[in-house]
Symmetry: C2
Subunit: 144 residues, 2 copies
Amino acid sequence: MNPLAELLDANARFYAAFNARDVAALAALWDDAGPVACVHPGWRALTDRHEILESWRAIFEGGGPARIEARAPEAFVIGNHGGPPGGDTLGMVVCYEAIGDALLVATNVFRRAESGWRLVHHHAGPCNEPPAEATSTPARGPLQ
Amino acid sequence: MNPLAELLDANARFYAAFNARDVAALAALWDDAGPVACVHPGWRALTDRHEILESWRAIFEGGGPARIEARAPEAFVIGNHGGPPGGDTLGMVVCYEAIGDALLVATNVFRRAESGWRLVHHHAGPCNEPPAEATSTPARGPLQ
């Protein structure tokens, strides 16, 4: 797989872990070699890895949404322009999170570790004017 | 300056450019060597540099907020763990945007270019439970 496909795959695994309410899978995805941050919709920014994982656990236990469907993901590889192969590289995915009839827009930032793309930041918030491809079930997408 | 201080400085310059309604200063800050993205509060994600700069111009011309005060910024350098000095490095700042009595939470992602930190992503959205240090004018901060 090329880096963009791997990035979309990591993004899909993030939402699959959410939908499975699998804190261990989230822990495996969140980077453990450096700083991480997380902004749940409307929340303050969490910047402690333990606090972030506990927040997901609290969301699962507190009757958070049963399912997030990630739609219209766009992936970007950043930070290795002209650099050596294998150099540190960051990736970002922007996508839409369909939760029932509600739609959020999300930023997910990943760091390319030896073990693959690891999540370093998640930020989700309301989206009032989504693009057309985010408002209906996509014809293609990693979570189909 | 160390990378974290430079990152906070770049973040402060972003909000200074906003407050000065200076599209040229924003253009100088937004990366022009790779992908960029921008999520204004409630908007869909913009992923075209020209469209992003035009969106700021439209916000300035359309009576957007007169002033954003960035509060409680936290900076993170990511992506060069154990790598060579001078290797590609990404940075993130999470901060709060005070706009009158309203408070947003923002993610700003930067790439370390030869010319300094360049903005590759901005995502701002509502914050309903800000930390105490974000709800009052901070005792210290890059925009004072």
